[in-house]
Amino acid sequence: MENVNFLYDLLGKNVISVLLIVSLPLMFVLVYALIAILAELKVSAWIQERLGPMRTGPWGILQPIAEVVKLIQKEDITPDRSSKLLYNLAPFIIFTGAYAAFAVIPFSEYFVPAGINLGLFYIFAVGSISAIGIVMGGWASNNKYSLMGAMRSVAQLISYEIPAAMAVLSIVVLASTMNMQEINKIQSGWFWNWFIFGGPGTLAKLWVIPFTLGLGLIYFISSLAETNRVPFDIPEGESELVAGFHTEYSGMKFAMFFFAEYANMFVVAAVLTTIFLGGWNSPFGDFMQGPFWGVFWFVSKAFTVVLVQIWIRWTLPRFRVDQLMYIGWKVLLPLSFICFMAVSLYVMLK
């Protein structure tokens, strides 16, 4: 693919531009995480007829900044009987896993840090890194709650990887590419060209729309589980496991977990946006279409998905661990197979 990166064109391919391109997503992650934290606080408050943070800046919009300023100053405790190396390494690994996924996320037609051809495959590969970090952190903390949280979390991540992968695979079959930029390009045009509505095609695609909608739902549910959000937040379920695998973490290391969680939320939302919701494409054909509008559309779509995740969090109770496995293996997996076969059939007939 031609994969034009306008910054390379602008600055030439040297160290500075590479660093800039690498750090742009980092900047984005930091700013986004702050906004997402604020959104979480505010949305939860409004749903509950409260106001949320009000006294830090106008309407409390500086609240996340205060949190960061505070977390920097907090003492960094390493428990005495923990496994020091693993304990200290875990947050970095988790954050690396979340951040590395940003490498292939196409923010716009012209901006994707690394437009590799196996983009979706890469995301799944990198996404699983966080499982290692979680189990490291949970085990090294030398805390029973942490250990239980870590075990649950890993079991959950592994189980839900499969339906999510099946959902993505169906779209790969539909688009016949794993390059995320390509997938986006296929979906250009009006919103009925999005893969959640069966992708571009004639009216013959009508019968496949329920299946692609189902795939979108399956991916969304699995993504909730992969990011440990309610109703799948059993690894850190407050009422059972105090704070789950990060019970013993404090200060900046805890902040890393925090950031990684929100970054992960964005990654799954971005994947959902890319493969189902048309990525950086405008929903209205050529209206507001363009490289910079692309960033706008992409971010706003992804952020809407994040908001829905937050919305669900403050609506539902959480599952029990066996029910979670049941849903993963006995509901989502068979359904995703059915949808996959339907989509394959559609591709064959096309």
Partner: protein, 172 residues
């Protein structure tokens, strides 16, 4: 309390830049207070009521944490018994610096109604951990909790990291 306890530091100074940085850091600490809710007795119900929609404690930037490691201050709401006292001490020691304690209600202030004949009641949580703010009441109104919170924020924002600050007038 380590770094932040240098109110009695003999030399003054630090200059404008350090002063401003300090302001920022103190602002961050005072505006973002994660608390370990230590619900013990009656006051805990009022505490829940304060977290509820009508009073909305989160307006002050307070977020509940269930793990002491991540908490900035601990709110002891209720009667502390001897059986419980050791645990409170352990939890307090597990918290990361800088840490603060708010003692809520008569019982944790000094044993409250149980101060005279309560053979099993610790007469004031300040006998085992240092308390920063005392909120009187049995139980205090939710607004009183919030007033205590503002008092704590005031205290935090007057603390010194780099240079000496004036003590709070009411604290002397």
């Amino acid at each position: 309390m380590g770094l932040l306890d240098r109110l009695d530091d003999p030399y003054e100074g630090g200059g404008i830049i350090l002063g401003k940085v300090e302001d920022l850091l103190n602002w961050g600490r005072s505006k973002s207070d994660w608390y370990l809710h230590f619900g013990l007795a009656c006051c805990a119900i009022e505490f829940m009521a304060m977290n509820a929609s009508h009073f909305d404690f989160m307006r002050f930037g307070t977020i509940p944490r269930t793990s002491p490691r991540q908490a900035d201050f601990i709110m002891v709401t209720g009667t502390v018994t001897f059986k419980m006292a050791d645990r409170i001490k352990i939890l307090y020691e597990q918290m990361a610096e800088p840490k603060y304690v708010i003692s809520v209600g008569s019982c944790s202030n000094c044993g409250g109604p149980y101060w005279e004949h309560g053979y099993h009641v610790l007469k004031g949580v300040d006998r085992i951990i240092p308390v920063d703010v005392y909120i009187p009441g049995c139980p205090p109104r939710p607004e009183a909790f919030e007033e205590g919170m503002m008092l704590l924020q005031k205290k935090i924002s007057h603390q010194a990291i780099f240079n000496k600050r004036k003590r709070l007038e009411s604290e002397v």
